[in-house]
């Protein structure tokens, strides 16, 4: 593809041109289904729509992003994966029918993008979190559940946090969400780093693949927009 002639967005998104310029910056954009974006055929719950972005087939990926074009907060996840570990699954809010995409940046700066439209009733970003309505969000804030399981040459992690993940679009409830998540081993090597926005659902959950073996202890650290730190640890279990 010649420089200066960007590929046409196969999803025909109304705002992709501006959005990609602001989120992805410089660098060619190529649309390629080898970046696998997987999601259900129906958005049963617009507050909590699961999506996985798998760029492991692309080789050396430096950045991996999860984007919903027509959300008021389009960028849900922005991570710097370790080699061969460019994968994330999470649940996001949907504010209306929108393209949902993954974007993976290669070492040469090129972005590989793919995704699909999902129909949604909407309002997922402007409804009060369930725990705010129930009133018990503070009681459970920072509870973390999780599991690590050896898989192939690494380990698969499932991490589920209790956090209201306020968007700031609900009257009298300012923005308040987890903003970073890191996974490290006992040798203080960082295995995964994610930046998280309020487009990620209340009680956020994440699946990641990391370089770790069965029996290895991993530490999880997260921080929210009020500067609160959350810590957890788990030992990777044997492959199932």
């Amino acid at each position: 593809m010649a420089l200066g002639t960007p590929q046409r967005d196969p999803l025909g998104s109304p705002n992709w041109q501006d959005l990609s310029a602001s989120l992805l910056g410089e660098g060619d954009i190529r649309f390629d289904d080898r970046l696998r974006v997987t999601m259900p055929i129906i958005a049963e719950n617009q507050h909590m729509f699961p999506v996985s972005v798998d760029a492991r087939a692309l080789g050396d990926v430096r950045r991996l992003a999860l984007i919903a074009d027509l959300n008021p907060i389009p960028l849900a996840i922005d991570m710097q994966p370790r080699p061969g570990r460019a994968f994330v699954e999470t649940r996001i809010k949907l504010d209306q029918r929108t393209p949902v995409r993954g974007a993976a940046q290669l070492a040469d700066g090129t972005w590989i993008v793919s995704g699909n439209w999902i129909d949604a009733a909407g309002g997922g970003c402007s409804a009060a979190p369930v725990s705010r309505v129930r009133g018990d969000w503070a009681e459970h804030l920072g509870e973390i559940r999780g599991l690590g399981v050896a898989e192939g040459e690494g380990a698969r992690l499932r991490l589920a946090f209790r956090h209201p993940m306020d968007t700031g679009f609900v009257a009298n409830i300012p923005t308040y969400h987890l903003e970073t998540l890191t996974v490290a081993n006992d040798r203080k090597e960082t295995l995964a780093t994610l930046e998280i926005s309020a487009a990620v659902s209340e009680d956020p959950a994440f699946s990641l693949f990391v370089d770790a073996k069965a029996g290895e202890r991993l530490t999880i650290a997260a921080r929210d927009t009020n500067g609160l730190d959350y810590r957890a640890a788990l030992v990777v279990g044997a492959a199932r």
Partner: protein
């Protein structure tokens, strides 16, 4: 490529002779006789969609000496009106009773076509309809558009006090159950031995679970299996003459779903992967399976994670 004038003309000639303005949306109500004075109006086995006008639930029409009895009344005012006209023409008697099996909109949004006194259900079902019934309105209008015109949920005006009701010499046993939703009503037509199960039973069509409580649903299926009956009308899917295959199939699907989701959570899997799980071969004849499976993942997975994943934060260590 621009079509030539000739292909355009050929295309026009092939069109049926329709007026140029859009034909009004019309439901085709086709009752099939299933017993003495008993008819089934089969719903479409797909999801609620503009292509079927939301008419996906099975409806039963029963003739009695005192008037027509209906079980459920469909997704919209327009459907309810067409159903009422068809049923009253079929039996020659006015609708005197519409039993509402549970709160879901594909079964009860036709209620506005009927007198409130005619609309009847148990106190428990009525409570769920009053609490949550109207909340489905936005979603139904969004999915169905003009099919829904004028549809405003009418609350049941009669609370059924006992465990049976006899209308014009025909006795209906009323089974107060739960599990598909917080309150479900199943009905046995004693004259024909037809068990009208509402959405507690699905047949060759995947069960939907937005308000499901699986242990209660299993208990309800056990109770339905123990009710002597000759045939069964499920809430969705074809009639079962065996007469317990549909009950067994519903139980089998729910048990598979629950086991699969629990295993997925306990192995560290995620919602996307769980929704893409291969559907076992024994369910190959079940329609709308992937769609309902992915809905069910949304209904159950986060709760199962909260139940089954171990706490790992430093608050507990």
């Amino acid at each position: 490529m621009r079509p030539s004038r000739r292909t355009l003309l050929a295309g026009l000639a092939a069109l049926p002779a329709l007026p140029l303005f859009a034909a009004p949306l019309t439901y085709r109500i086709t009752p099939q006789p299933i017993g003495d004075g008993l008819w089934l109006v089969r719903g479409d086995d797909g999801p609620i969609a503009a292509t079927n006008g939301g008419a996906i639930a099975n409806i039963v029409i029963a003739a009695t000496d005192a008037g027509t009895v209906l079980v459920d009344c469909g997704p919209s005012l327009r459907y309810g009106q067409a159903l009422k006209l068809m049923a009253e023409t079929l039996t020659g008697k006015p609708a005197v009773r519409v039993y509402l099996t549970h709160l879901h909109p594909d079964h009860i949004f036709g209620s506005a076509a009927f007198d409130p006194k005619v609309l009847a259900t148990t106190a428990a079902v009525a409570a769920t309809i009053e609490q949550e019934g109207t909340s489905f309105s936005d979603g139904m209008y969004r999915l169905l558009g003009d099919w829904m015109r004028g549809s405003e949920l009418r609350m049941p005006g009669t609370i059924l006090p006992g465990d049976s009701e006899t209308i014009g010499g025909r006795t209906f046993r009323l089974l107060t159950l739960s599990g598909h939703s917080a309150a479900d009503l199943a009905i046995l037509d004693t004259r024909t031995g037809t068990l009208i199960a509402g959405d507690l039973v699905f047949h060759d069509r995947a069960p939907s679970t937005p308000h499901a409580d699986l242990p209660k649903w299993r208990a309800a299926l056990d109770r339905l299996a123990a009710v002597p009956h000759r045939s069964l009308v499920p809430g969705h899917g074809p009639r079962d003459l065996t007469p317990t295959a549909a009950i067994d199939q519903t139980r089998d699907w729910l048990a598979w779903l629950d086991g699969m989701l629990r295993a997925a959570v306990q192995s560290g899997s995620d919602m996307v992967e769980a929704g893409d799980t291969a559907i076992p071969q024994r369910f190959a004849g079940i329609t709308t399976a992937r769609y309902e499976l992915q809905r069910s993942v949304s209904h159950f997975f986060p709760r199962l994670e909260a139940e089954l994943l171990p706490r790992i934060d430093d608050k507990v260590r």
